[in-house]
Amino acid sequence: MNSTSSAVKPVISIRDVTHRYGKMTALDGISLEIPRGLMVGIIGPDGVGKSTLMALIAGSKKLQRGQMTVLDGDIADVRHRNVVCPQIAYMPQGLGKNLYFELSVYDNVDFMAQLFGLSPAERSARVRQLLEATGLAPFASRPAGKLSGGMKQKVGLCGALVHDPDLLILDEPTTGVDPLSRRQFWTLIDDIRASRPGMSVLISTAYMDEAQKWDWIVAMDAGRVLATGTPAELMQRTGTKDLEACFIGLLPEEKRTGHKELAIPPRPAGKAEVVIDAKGLTRRFGNFTAVDHVSLEIECGEIFGFLGSNGCGKSTTMKMLTGLLPPTEGTATLFGHSVEAGSMEVRRNLGYMTQSFSLYGELTVRQNLALDALLYHIPAKKAEARIRELVEKFGLGPHLDSLAESLPMGLRQRLSLAVAVLHEPKILILDEPTSGVDPVARDSFWELLIELSRKQGVTIFITTHFMNEGMRCDRISLMNAGKVLACDAPRKLIEARGASTLEDAFIGYMEDAAAEGAAETQGRKKAPAAAVETAQPASSPAAEKPTGFRLRLARLLAYARNETMQILRDPVRLIFSFAGSALLMLVFGFGVTSDVENIRFAAYDLDQSPESRAYIEQFTASRPYFLRTPPARSAQESLERLQADDVSVVIEIPPNFGRDLRKGNGPDVLAEVDAAMTYRGETVAQYVQGVHNLMLQNPANGLQVEPMKDTAQFEERYMYNPTFESVYAMVPSIPALLLVLILAILMAVSIVREKELGSMINFYVTPTGRLEYLLGKQLPYIVIGMINFFILAAMALFVFNVPVKGSFLLLTLATLLYVTTTTGIGMVISTFTTSQVAAVFVTAILTVTPTIQFSGLLQPVSTLMGRAKTIGLIWPTTYYMHSSVGAYTKGLSPSLMLQDIAFLAACIPVLWLFSMLGLRKQEK
């Protein structure tokens, strides 16, 4: 593990690289040469630019300023990236960030192998070997989302190693992973390096002790490199014994001021009162047991630590203790009272700090503190004094009026603590308060905790995954997979196992538990660490790898298959894809109808003669258009009934109507129509006029009529819809509407989702081309669109009795092109939206208006004017609507449908082009 001679060319050389996110500078003019063939660690707390640096090296992020040579070429150059990208493997930060949680372990690794173009036979052998080597083989069919953190990281590693890289980049691979898995992970890496000696490994970590054994270290802080060299060199330079102290020694002077070795005064001896008492706490989610019979007794004034990895049940236990989650079994009491929801007295004495930053980022520091004082009903005078005291003690003075979200991590944690202790609670429950905080800030945070415990007698219950923090607690519980493995003072635990460090002791307990578990299940063979040579390729690559078009097609299909499996395993998207359109078809088909029937009318007959009754009778007789209600007895009543929407029209017959009619005086009849809803009012008025006209023409009803002379007759031909019912016009239009709305949204979400969740990185760092990616993603949605089309056509026929009169085959072809177009629209939208929520709303807003207003659904395109007409003429729905309505109601001739089909076909390449131009192959 000696540093190789400097004669070898560095694997990475960096000159003056600066990277900014908006105003924030992540990397500040870094220059660095990283030697080849070594295990290189980048150390430093969160937010110092480690991840940015690694993403830039991997070519996943776009270089902003400076120069970077990776594997003997300029990484900013596309051609070089294309050449070296199969030689680089990159595993981003976050547990399984580039995994597809719905897919199984095998499918995840297999997917990466497909993207790197391994042949099917090669693939299956390679994937199995890797899973065997990492001990994942027994879980090959389990969805990645249901794995523990350590296992997710192993899956990620398999995915990274599937194509034999020369440069392996691992960004914080062990953060949040339990100590045993961590140790196994490093053994695995060592084995792989042993079998591929030329490989360079670049790893970042926040656990400085891990880096102690590595070949070469880059210490970073605030976007700059503090120092480089072997761990021994660095420790010698600072005169320290471990890397964490060494790192603090390397920090600039102003950051170190005020930092001193933490000293913990011993707790006064003697038994104190038990304040937190948990007995057999158990919590199950479905058939998964998150917390398994945990029992605790914590004494007043004690600092009690909970040590364990992510997902081992620490947070769930805390939620049960605070009353946020009801336990499935067991009891928890604070001060002897049950914490089940509702006990206000207990909550008044409880301070809680959640794992995430649980303050209002959009409020200032002062507002956050004041809000809590108000909610705890602390009297104004006292609250003011208390806030002043805390601000001073926690060093928040200079930041009082800055927004909480603008504070650096260390300060945020202190603010969170200040908020949690504002009301002077007797118990403080802190859920991983120090993760992501640099060592100096961590120590100053602990100083506050120690003061609270020792001077004010506050009982502190804290979870952490830092072993050195565990050492500072009075007592700790080691937790793994929902179970407490051991519980005692940290020194005693180490002694009991005869270990040298707490980590070794923890691992010892975990191995015991694992052995027990293995014995119980009759033990599958433990992951054979011997299968190391598997890192060698199964056959010589390049020779059999598919090339050119076949390779591209294979990657396209890999993405299509991947997407299909994801949709099938996501119930919400699945329901939205199929039930959504069926539901909306029913709503539109039955609910959106402009047929005006059953108009409620009342007569206000001031004459009461046979003639007036005969006149009114005509309206009653014209069912289903008019529906008679009890007559009105006064003008006041008729107005009131019109106002209350009880009737839509009142027919008022004047006194002496009958006499005037007989004399030929031409009496007036007044029809008062409710025109509040304009369209309906207009239609009702026309119906009234229509009934009146019919009456005059019909000699049978006793009204004297002059012979009609100077008039023409009208014959109305309602073409395409002879019965003039909404359903025939509406039902054929609905698929045009739904196939754009639902498909565009789903398509946009599917791409933006990858950006938001991080799996987009697989596209950035694999040789996948833009068109392969886009078409692969689009294919499943085109299929969904076609299935939807058949569902809607079946509903039109069987539910609404609207059959297709024209050519169904041609309509199917038009639909195929239309759904390709509408998913294309979603694709284009996905290129400029960054969150799923934005994708949904932007797509909805951009597609709904042109589809409903300008494509002929409500108003024929021929009657549109100005810009509305322009939009209508280029919006694809217009053409599909024409074909669909035509095929259903008009029996449209094929030649006319072909014009629409030609237009839709022309849209597709245009949309692909826009999507390709908008899709970046690197992160900004």
Binding site: D372, S594, E597, V673, A676, V688, F714, F724, L741, Q859
Partner: protein
């Protein structure tokens, strides 16, 4: 007392958070001003700029004159086409109406033989087709009879029907559309705002923080109701006074106070629905998808787009439980028809009852939802 102050302070915090979200704020302002103006003036379900063609097989002085009777804004200038072209051109969707004047039309009229004019109507454009046909018939009849009599006098009939359109005598569709637009925006934005507030608090972990404090789920939910409700109420007031009444000159016949009281009741329902959706969705993206389905149903079946009376009987029985339907109904009664409390109390009661039901249900789910988060 403690409860009330808690609700007050929590709500104030809610409003502060909202005010700091500039994008959301701009969206709300746009939705209640520009968007309403555009919807109210841009579209029309009345006949407007309708395309029409005439087949003239008579070629008489009268038939030629009939080309001059259609003009904007209702109709485009009529095109002359041949009898054999009708079907093809209508298939292409170029004309909504084709009027066919038969041979010897004028002659037949003069001999009192009541000749027949055929009107071909593209009945797939439902809303315009019915009304447009009647316009065409009236325009043609009038001009024909005037042409023959050489006079503009109306013929006398045995009974004269006088139709008076109440509440909107000139049939201006902006009156109706502007109010429906306000109602639709109230529904959409209240749900989005409240639901997003719930999910944001849950994603940021601040909800857990609140639930550990001596606060009840009722207080937390109620704070969201009043804060988001107040924001939307203010926006709706700006839209009503500024856009509808001032810019679009929509008269308000009834009592403003009564309408705003009704809006408050509706907001109670909509915020409760927002909390409910925010509680059951596991992520913002799920919420967005759910939201689209729910809002579309609430808006389309409310009677704001097409009359409730036109829905089939069984559907009307279901939509009776949609508060948006009652909102549209009482808004029409108060704003156009000038109805008082006696005319709208049943709608108010229905909206409150459903709102209360939803609120209670979401409240029950609220605490449980913590179990759903990680």
């Amino acid at each position: 007392m403690g409860t009330l102050t808690n609700i007050f302070w929590l709500g104030l915090k809610e409003i502060r958070s909202l005010l700091s979200d500039k994008v959301m704020l701009l969206f709300v302002i746009y939705a209640f001003t520009m968007a309403i103006y555009i919807q109210a003036t841009g579209t029309s379900n009345d006949v407007n700029n309708a395309s029409i063609a005439i087949v003239d097989e008579d070629n008489s002085a009268l038939s030629k004159e009939l080309f001059t009777v259609f003009y904007p804004p209702r109709f485009q200038a009529p095109q002359k086409i041949g009898a054999n072209e009708i079907e093809d051109l209508m298939d292409k969707g170029l004309f909504m109406f084709v009027v066919v004047i038969p041979p010897r039309f004028e002659e037949d009229l003069r001999f009192g033989r009541n000749p027949e004019i055929q009107i071909d109507i593209d009945a797939t454009a439902m809303q315009q087709a019915g009304i447009g046909t009647n316009y065409i018939k009236n325009i043609l009849s009038k001009r024909i009879s005037n042409f023959l009599k050489r006079t503009d006098q109306e013929p006398s009939a045995p009974v004269n029907l006088i139709i008076r359109k109440l509440f909107n005598p000139n049939g201006l569709s902006t009156w109706f559309l502007s109010v429906v637009a306000i109602i639709n925006q109230v529904t959409l934005l209240t749900i989005v705002l409240t639901g997003a507030a719930v999910i944001r608090e849950r994603e940021h972990g601040t909800l857990e923080h609140l639930l550990v404090m001596p606060l009840t789920a009722f207080e937390i939910a109620m704070a969201k109701v009043w804060a988001n409700g107040l924001v939307i109420l203010t926006a709706a007031a700006i839209a009503l006074f500024g856009v509808a009444e001032m810019a679009l000159k929509v008269p308000f016949a009834g009592s403003h106070l009564l309408w705003f009281f009704g809006v408050i009741l509706y907001l109670f329902f909509a915020t409760a629905l927002g909390i409910f959706l925010g509680t059951i969705s596991r992520s913002m993206a799920q919420f967005a998808l759910l939201n689209i389905l729910v809002v579309l149903v609430l808006q389309l079946l409310s009677g704001g787009s097409t009359p409730v009376e036109s829905q089939p009987e069984w559907l009307q029985n279901i939509t009776f439980f949609l508060p948006s339907r009652h909102f549209v109904s009482f808004s029409q009664i108060i704003i156009y028809r000038g109805g008082g409390l006696s005319a709208v109390w049943s709608q108010f009661l229905m909206v409150s009852a459903i709102g209360l039901g939803f609120f209670m249900y979401s409240l029950a789910l609220f605490r449980k939802s913590i179990a759903v988060t990680k």
